[in-house]
Amino acid sequence: MIEAVGLTKRYGDKTAVYNLSFQVRPGTVTGFLGPNGSGKSTTMRMILGLDNPTSGQVTIGGFPYRKLPNAPRQVGALLDAKAVHGGRAARNHLLCLAQLSGIPARRVDEVLGVVGLQDVARRRSKGFSLGMGQRLGIAAALLGDPQVLLFDEPVNGLDPEGILWVRNLMKSLAAEGRTVFVSSHLMSEMALTADHLIVIGRGQLLADMSVRDFISANSADFARVRTPDTEPQQREKLSSALTEAGGHVLPEQDGALRVTGLPLPRISDIAHASDVRLWELSPHQASLEEAYMRMTQGAVDYRSTIDQRAGLMQPLPPGYQPPIPVPGQGQPGWYAPPPPQPGGQPFVMPGQPGQVPAGPYGAPAAPAAPGAGGPNPYAQPASEDRAPAGPAAPAQPPASPAPAADLTKPEDAR
């Protein structure tokens, strides 16, 4: 078990970690989340006794790392996969680490097999790809068969197959009763890997709870109710009726209502009683990614600004014809669904009242949509990470086979 109490680290006048207290328990994968520069790596280094805390302390099994008896056999860590001497062969790299902790050379070949690097064991790590380097780092962490494992961004640079492998490895390590502490800035990855979450921002603790609790605490279930767009007075009527019944009603941008505090059948009954027709009544849960973004919003250090485009682009050579854009592609509102804003439309409605819909899912700004192949439920606008993915979700199978990117959507579809 890892236990931090009031951990604080200052570098000069910059505070990297402030008053951090948490526990990492054995038998579960604990995700350590935070935006870039939020102090994750600093905390990891303090756990390993590499950096001395300015105040507070962190212990493993009750001992500060530097006092831990036989530390490398109890704790394995991947801090930075690039931290190898490029001129040294992979096997020799692991061998010198094994010898440091008195681990037999046989174990080196074992872990090389575990991470799948046995064929390149005698090659210099200089020529390794990002993913191979990451595997080498994981092999180093596994060397001592330790009870406590720390991984700093282990999936960086791995291909989907590698990500899946790391995920399963972490889970199986935790299932064996080990303490597994994994840092990441990818909420979606942690949602699949971790059982417990510790979220920090600007070096301070934002959340320390199980993934399940994190989801329900940060994303209240809500129902989306849509009345006919053609009759706005029905919306007002339903809205007041729902409020009267104890519900909490929030209007959404596109005219739908976000209702909390009332179960779906009750909403339906109220609508029926007040003689309001419904175009939509659907259960929703805000995604994990959305909750995470909301939580860390104030704690993001590096935010991009709008590119003012200083006019530095070179003019095209004379006679050069710019490629004619393919209709629909890359143009918002052509046939792709509108960007997934909070409260995006689950079913795309006709833009103006009275306009004939182009089809059951016809996009409003695309009268030519059927000709262009109809609405594409998978044509997601670029900002995937903004989560609630309203439009695409209903068209997708709830158990999406896509591994990493779509993790948060099934939540919404359920």
Binding site: A71, L79, H85, G87, R88, C96, A98, L100
Partner: protein
């Protein structure tokens, strides 16, 4: 127990990188070859020398003429052994495996020093024998008074130079910075300070000036050095100890 682990691990580390072979063989080849060249030139000019020069001719010291250049390769060896850990980031992995930093640093220095000693001794003896062979009739023999001391001292000198560099590199961490400080210092500054009369009195207490006193068998005519051969080596040992203690003190309290 832990020390034995560190020593075995450091041996693996040191033999599994190419720079070890390159720097150490460069130290040996440069020292021996340059010593032979200077010996050959001395032999040719012997007949035209003044009687006074012939009397103070130090054949042992002449065969070590290459050491001033060969020691630079030793410096590179010493710097790389330590600073490679920092430039690659291995230091974090290493210190996570060996939380006791004294064990780690001195284990590393022990292995590198042992290797430097073997190569330094080989260099010194090889430079002596080949140099004397080239000098022919004017050469010295190992049995002559003071000669064995000078040859063994040559090996120790090379080793101490490498150790001094390790201490400096442990303090400065960056290989470029360490080499940028050590190279000009030993190649230029120390020589200038030691040869300009105004600074000579200070210059001869610098590590290389003091340490290389042991290489001389026949002291120069106007020799007024306040220390003997072993005294000079002792001064160098003090420098090395200071560098290593400084390196350890910084490693102990610094964040890795």
């Amino acid at each position: 127990m832990a020390m034995a682990h560190v020593i075995r691990s450091e041996w693996t580390k040191i033999r599994s990188v190419a720079s070890t072979v390159w720097t150490l063989s460069a130290a040996l080849v440069v020292t021996v070859a340059l010593g032979m060249l200077i010996s050959a030139l001395t032999r040719r000019e012997f007949d035209s020398m003044s009687p006074r020069d012939r009397l103070t001719l130090d054949p042992t010291f002449i065969s070590f003429a290459g050491m001033s250049l060969g020691q630079l390769a030793m410096i590179v060896f010493g710097v790389l052994v330590v600073s490679n850990e920092y430039s690659t980031g291995m230091i974090r992995t290493s210190l996570a495996a060996v939380p006791r930093r004294a064990t780690f640093l001195f284990g590393k220095i022990t292995v590198a020093t042992a290797l430097a000693l073997v190569v330094g001794m080989a260099t010194s003896f090889l430079a002596f024998f080949l140099g004397q062979a080239v000098l022919g009739p004017h050469g010295a023999r190992l049995g002559d008074p003071g000669v064995l001391r000078a040859v063994v001292g040559g090996g120790l000198y090379m080793t101490l130079i490498a150790m001094f560099s390790m201490g400096i590199a442990a303090m400065l961490r960056s290989p470029m910075l360490s080499l940028g400080v050590l190279m000009p210092f030993f190649f230029l500054i120390s020589n200038i300070l030691g040869n300009v009369s105004a600074t000579k009195k200070i210059g001869r207490f610098l590590p290389d000036q003091a340490g290389s006193r042991i290489l001389q068998v026949v002291p120069g005519a106007a020799d007024d050095t306040p220390y003997g051969p072993w005294g000079g080596l002792g001064i160098m040992v003090l420098w090395v100890a200071a560098a290593l203690i400084g390196g350890y003190a910084l490693l102990k309290q610094r964040d890795a």
